[in-house]
């Protein structure tokens, strides 16, 4: 509740931003930006008493939507157990659908805010109980990104994001990500599915 409430102002800003952005003459799903990122966890809270959140890698697919842009995000990260605190480390996979909205600030530099909702999968190192080696939980993430198109179809991207996973004891992780993205024309069959 608390985490979701925090995201409400972000949603309002996104709605306003999407309105500004909607004036661009772009057809929904006619192109897709595929981005690869390296991410580092930058906050500290109760979670870090038990695990060292290591570096993470992410890939996302962003395409124009009817308002704003739609996004699919997948982030994979390794979390090693702190000796004596947790008995298992784990690999987390966060797969989420999202919505982005923003506008061009200056020539070739664009600012975006995004909201994603998806599933966090925890793949544990220890196999104490085979039935629970994998666990799934709902997660949501808000983000702010800067996107600089340094060459035709090529983008350099920096992003700050805050991910909340709704386990009984909430997991709240802040990331800073850097990466590259390239714009492709979307195949017709993808447009057929999504439109």
């Amino acid at each position: 509740m608390r985490a979701l409430s925090r995201l409400t102002p972000l949603l309002i800003i996104m709605l306003a931003a999407s309105r500004a952005h909607s004036q661009e003459p772009v057809r929904p799903f006619d192109r897709v930006d595929i981005g690869l990122y390296g991410a580092a966890n930058v906050n500290r809270n109760e979670f870090h008493t038990y695990w060292d959140a290591g570096h993470a890698g992410a890939i996302d697919f962003v395409t124009p939507f009817y308002a704003g842009r739609a996004s699919l995000l997948i982030r994979v990260g390794r979390n090693d157990a702190v000796a004596g605190a947790a008995s298992s480390g784990f690999t987390s996979v966060y797969a989420a659908l999202g919505w982005r909205a923003g506008r061009t600030l200056v020539h070739d530099l664009r600012a975006d805010i995004g909201l994603h909702v998806g599933i966090a999968d925890f793949n544990f190192s220890e196999e104490a109980e085979s039935s629970v080696r994998n666990e799934l939980e709902l997660g949501t993430e808000g983000s702010v990104r800067a996107d600089y198109e340094f060459a035709t179809r090529w983008h350099a991207i920096a992003e700050a994001s805050y991910q909340v996973t709704f386990t009984y004891h909430r997991i709240e992780l802040a990331y800073v990500s850097l990466g590259l993205a390239r714009t492709f024309g979307a195949p017709g069959w993808i447009r057929g599915v999504l439109e």
Partner: protein
């Protein structure tokens, strides 16, 4: 968006998101169910605010239809394609046991003016009925399928490997259904199958249900998890698995359809919270029903309808290991006829039916079979072009006692946009029709005694009576409309259960003798208001308010009605900006309830495997938000629904021991194809 799809979408707003304030029969079509993202039959029930559904576990939803029955009573009926189903577990009606696939449902009708349904009245004396209609295949082949599942938040996640470990919270589902059909102009045939799983996710509920599964009868051992379902289901885990299949054929002849149905459903480890036991009790529940229904013309102005069925219900423990075993089987055979004759402005209907019920259990019963004869007549008269009135009289006899019912109704269009409706009715129900624990315990069924539960019934029960009067006004305009309804009910010779629970910390359950208080009289007043409006061309909103107030009642009767929320408010908004994209959201509020049976244990705490849960006699009011996005693909044959229930994770309970309905994310895929 096509004109047809737009019309459906508008209809969703008019009917599906909140029932019309005084329509005694609300029909929710498949298109409306899909637009609301219904994944189970009980999801449709939750769209009817006036039925006030409440649930302990998220699987068993127990309504109080328009305050015409006692709170969460089982005295409402479930009918599939005209066949009365027996899906009850004495003090709960397991709606999800209905042997029908979600993919084949054509419509669901919620009827609380059952005098309007002719042969249906000859089935039973109920004030409310859920009628489920499976689709008739149109010309050629048709295939439909659904698959859905979800996850409630609150898993321990990685914290399971730390001192902060908490119990696991499982997924919702997985559910799946498949319907295969072929039809032509004058016939059709279809097959369907469905699977539903429902784990009990609430920590305290899990604690109690796990105890129930671990309590074995002497000499029994936990069964091995084997069989074709073992790869996805473990009967040692507190979760219900329901499998069902059905076959249907229909022929159009003599001016009407003649349809046969054979259906079977099996629910493994169905738990429901039983007040007499103060905890969840497990059962393996099976229902088998076969029957025929149809109608044909007899001359230009007369129609004859018929229905016949045979059904079996079993409640037991299939593995013969649990200490708790209903050891119960009941069989029903029933038939009914109705004749409708129309002349000029008048239509008359006469109906008659016969039902026999026989019970088998290891206990020696003083009376193990009942027979009921039911008959009645109805006259409808048109009063001018737009107005009409009708009266009905019906009677039920079990050979010893007779129950009477009568109703009269007036529909008066004051102006084109304004309609007034008035309805008065009285309905009696024989105790023998109730088919509840108290009836059968009185006849020698020893389930309560075997499980150490004592009870007293403080007087004779022959029949109960509900008299009701309703007046409603509706007005509509270009931008929307308003419905307002006022009702009053008087209950006579009602019986209610009372207890003073004590707490057992070891099991997190409760215990108390039950006193069945008979001869209760009481009154209940209702107000229903609804305002619906459009929000542009492809969107709309719908506000509803329901108010229930008990007054001038005997104390035990009055206390029972404090368990029903006095106020229920809903606002639903929807939008379909493109034919392939739809958005739906609603805000719901229920006011607090008070459960006097739990007054002595208010504030006790259950240690549910590390999660502290406090039981309260006063269930606080709550407000929650649901939201959904739908996307259609492949020329709208395939749809994906993504829904979030209780989006802001509010503390939602319906009962002192009931599960907390946390934020849950659900996904459903729906496929429909025809050649």
């Amino acid at each position: 968006m096509t004109r047809a799809s737009r019309a459906v979408w508008i209809a969703v707003g008019l009917v599906c998101t909140a029932d019309a304030a005084f329509a005694r029969r609300v029909v929710v079509t498949r298109a409306q169910l899909e637009a609301a993202g219904a994944m189970r039959i009980s999801d449709a029930l939750q769209l009817l605010d006036a039925w006030s559904p409440q649930s302990n576990d998220g699987n068993t939803w127990m309504p109080t239809p328009r305050a015409l029955e006692a709170p969460r009573s089982t005295a409402w009926s479930v009918v599939l394609n005209g066949q009365l189903l027996d899906v009850g577990v004495f003090d709960a009606t397991h709606l999800e046991l209905v042997p029908v696939a979600m993919a084949e449902i054509d419509s669901i009708a919620f009827d609380d003016g059952v005098e309007r349904s002719f042969a249906g009245t000859a089935w039973e004396s109920a004030n409310a009925r859920v009628e489920i209609y499976a689709a008739r295949a149109t010309h050629g082949w048709a295939v439909a399928a659904t698959a859905s599942g979800g996850n409630e938040i609150g898993d321990p996640g990685p914290y399971r490997y730390t001192p902060l470990a908490t119990p696991n919270v499982d997924a919702v589902g997985a559910d799946a259904s498949l319907w295969l059909a072929r039809g032509a102009r004058n016939w059709y045939a279809s097959l369907s199958g469905a699977m539903m799983q429902h784990p009990y996710t609430d920590p305290a509920m899990r604690e109690r249900t796990a105890d129930a599964l671990a309590t074995l009868r002497p000499g029994a051992t936990v069964p091995e998890n084997s069989g074709p379902t073992s790869w996805f289901y473990d009967p040692g885990w507190p979760a219900v698995l329901r499998l069902s299949t059905s076959a249907r054929v229909g022929v159009h002849a003599g001016g009407g359809w003649h349809e046969g149905t054979l259906a079977v459903a099996n629910a493994r480890r169905y738990f429901h919270y039983s007040e007499p036991f103060g905890s969840e009790v497990p059962t393996d529940q099976r229902a088998l029903v076969g029957g025929a229904t149809g109608s044909f013309g007899a001359g230009a102005s007369t129609r004859i309808g018929y229905r016949a069925l045979a059904s079996t219900k079993q409640l037991d423990d299939q593995d013969d290991v649990l200490a708790f075993d209903y050891d119960w089987e009941s069989r029903r055979v029933a038939g009914a006829l109705d004749v409708t004759h129309a002349r000029g402005r008048t239509r008359a209907i006469a109906f008659a039916g016969y039902e026999t019920r026989r019970v088998e259990t290891a206990d020696t019963l003083s009376d193990d079979d009942d027979s009921f004869v039911r008959a009645g007549a109805r006259v409808e008269r048109a009063l001018g072009r737009t107005n009409r009135a009708d009266v009905e009289f019906a009677t039920t006899s079990d050979g010893d006692d007779v129950a009477l019912s009568a109703a009269a109704r007036l529909h008066w269009m004051v102006r084109t946009a304004d309609t007034v409706r008035v309805r008065v009715a009285v309905r009696e129900r024989l105790f023998a029709e109730s088919d509840d624990l108290w009836l059968w315990s009185e006849r020698g069924y020893g389930l309560l005694e075997r499980n150490g539960t004592s009870y007293t019934i403080d007087g004779p029960i022959d029949r109960t009576r509900v008299a009701s009067a309703d007046v409603a006004w509706s007005s509509s305009g270009i931008l929307g409309g308003v419905d307002i309804s006022l009702g009053v009910r008087r209950f006579d010779d009602a019986y209610v259960e009372t207890r003073a629970f004590s707490y057992d910390a070891a099991t997190c359950g409760f215990d108390a003798p039950t006193r069945v208080v008979t001869g209760q009289t009481g009154h209940v007043g209702t107000v229903e208001a609804r305002l619906y409006h459009s929000l542009g061309e492809h969107s709309g909103g719908d506000f509803s308010w329901g108010y229930v107030e008990e007054f001038d009642s005997d104390p035990a009767f009055g206390a029972t009605w404090q368990t029903v929320p006095r106020h229920r408010l809903r606002y639903t908004a929807w939008a379909r900006p493109r034919s392939t994209w739809a958005f739906w959201a609603r805000v719901c509020h229920d006011s607090p309830t008070w459960w006097s049976d739990y007054a002595e244990v208010d504030g006790v705490m259950c240690d549910a495997d590390g999660v502290p849960v406090t039981y309260r006699a006063r269930v606080d009011g709550f407000t929650f938000v649901d939201a959904m996005v739908q996307h259609g693909m492949w020329r709208e044959r395939l749809w994906i629904d993504v829904a979030a229930r209780n989006l802001f994770d509010a503390d939602v309970h319906y009962h002192p021991l009931g599960a907390s309905f946390g934020l849950t994310l659900l996904v459903q895929a729906r496929l429909r194809w025809s050649d």
